[in-house]
Subunit: 142 residues, 2 copies
């Protein structure tokens, strides 16, 4: 599949070694429509790679800027390939995760204000929305 070919190019461009574990794990993350936990990845990887390797590989890919480590306040991390920068809306009822387009206008406005006020230089931000998805709101009304 095309993803696999791409992963090697991507790893090369990022300047890190190409290994089966890396192409495999990167590919898994690239094809997932939701951010994955380490356990999610481990299940998809199967016996191909050891759990410790999965941790080290994910960490390496984050350092290389190929994955983002995000947190939904679950007590563990999730990893996501940033096809494009965006945010998430997490349903606190069913756990569904919806992608939210990044609000350049609003966030940039906030970042600029922070820099102006305290001199803090913002290099990245995290924004997660929590609430109820459409379906769960309907359920509640019954």
């Amino acid at each position: 599949m095309q993803t696999v070919r791409n992963t090697k190019e991507i790893l090369t461009e990022a300047g890190i070694e190409i290994t089966p574990a890396r192409t495999h794990i990167l590919s898994i993350c690239m094809r997932s429509s939701t951010p994955l936990t380490v356990e999610d990845v481990a299940i998809k990887v199967g016996t191909t790679a050891h759990l410790a390797t999965i941790y080290r590989t994910l960490e390496k890919l984050v350092q290389a800027g190929l994955l983002e480590r995000i947190d939904f306040q679950e007590g563990k991390f999730r990893y996501e390939y940033p096809h494009h920068h965006h945010h998430h809306a997490v349903c606190e009822c069913c756990g569904k995760i919806e992608d939210i387009e990044d609000s350049q206008t609003e966030i940039t406005s906030i970042e600029n204000r922070v820099t102006k006020e305290s001199g803090f230089l913002v290099t990245r931000h995290v924004m997660e929305l929590f609430g109820l998805c459409n379906k769960c709101q309907q359920k509640g009304k019954q």
Copy 2:
């Protein structure tokens, strides 16, 4: 001190039992200017309360709406008494945490857009900024 008196009223208003551990831990969080880790709290609590009790108490206080559990991607949680809703700017160099006033305008604008587009009802949000504080930027220039 006044905080102690207040904590009892606050616990009563929240409808949960008043206990030494709760007043103590709530008081600690109320007086801290930065969000505390469980370990931070444990150190301040000393031998007064068991570690398991601290976990249970913090969880209880969050459920009661008296504390907020926040996450700076450190692999553990921090707890904060929300004197008022605000955000944080975390320096990735020295770890300093600055408070950022909540940007009602911008965030509300984002939340409204999300609700309009996908019907997701936002009940709360998390936004953390990461980057370099003023001091660390100076260091870098040397």
